[in-house]
Symmetry: C2
Subunit: 200 residues, 2 copies
Amino acid sequence: MSTASKVLAELIDALRCLPGVGAKSAQRMAFHLLERDRDGGRRLAAALTAAMERIGHCRQCRTFSEEPVCALCAGAARDRHVLCVVESPSDLAAIEQATGYRGLYFVLLGRLSPLDGLGPDELGMDLLRRRLAEGEVQELIVATNPTVEGEATAHYLAQLARDAGVRATRLAHGVPLGGELEFIDRSTLAHAFGGRQALD
Amino acid sequence: MSTASKVLAELIDALRCLPGVGAKSAQRMAFHLLERDRDGGRRLAAALTAAMERIGHCRQCRTFSEEPVCALCAGAARDRHVLCVVESPSDLAAIEQATGYRGLYFVLLGRLSPLDGLGPDELGMDLLRRRLAEGEVQELIVATNPTVEGEATAHYLAQLARDAGVRATRLAHGVPLGGELEFIDRSTLAHAFGGRQALD
Ligand SMILES: [Zn+2]
Ligand SMILES: [Zn+2]
């Protein structure tokens, strides 16, 4: 479609910012919306605009939120004595969908990775330290990914918990080494979550 | 993510209007844009808005165009004596990308399908009849899909060409039965296009 429509060419190109979408799928998506679902296309445009402009991070747990404090942190329904630390909002979503966890979360938005300029400051470790010092949290569940950097981050978190006198636990075996939480099937993740063990 | 953010939930839901995108991919796309490519998300929103509002159909060939007459029809570079009839803009794109075709197109935006309310009127057959009556077109290449409805449409087009005294040709064997042009590999399509045969 080098020729027929500049607006269409721009749409096809812009769709390629979506992960897993190559030239061929982008073209198919653009044609589908134009031929059969213009309302869907308009709704997607509005949803994208709203999300890109309005979604920031919860100042308590750092997950995505359009409010200063997210619904999870603000709500009264969750157990405030258990705090689960994850690397990303995707991991939070995976645990919410797979397990019956009723505690709160803390989202690092990364993992310790000095080469990428990600140290304790970038991951909000001070915020977490202050949270643990408040004394409300009795168990810190460390749910970083089982990668080299995730393990280093887990060690840091275990030390943080130890300093604050808070018990730290880690997801049970069952999470495959080198795997990403986000892509693990629900039952494996639920099993690993249920069988989490004390960090030594 | 039933809980954390309504704006995010709406984005994930809206992404599912894209073909081939389920709940899991929609969530991955939303997180990717929010975490790593907000500029890409904004650009996609703008491209969608522009495309949904501004792209209509060329009044000569009926393909997608933001101008009354598309760049293909308006340009001087193409051979105006050959007209290739396709079912959809996707098929036009597939032929443009796979073959060295230098003629013009006519896009039916469908195929004869009485049960779906698609008859000659809906497919612009009158517009095509008037085009053939002008005398400029010397060959009508029928490139409908090799499905039952596509074949019925091809027969109708062959009759239209016969009535106007225009030679009609059909893509050569090589297009698999039941297949869709859009999904055929380039070399097969190029071969079938080059070896098109007279419709009897
Ligand atoms: Zn929060
Ligand atoms: Zn045109």
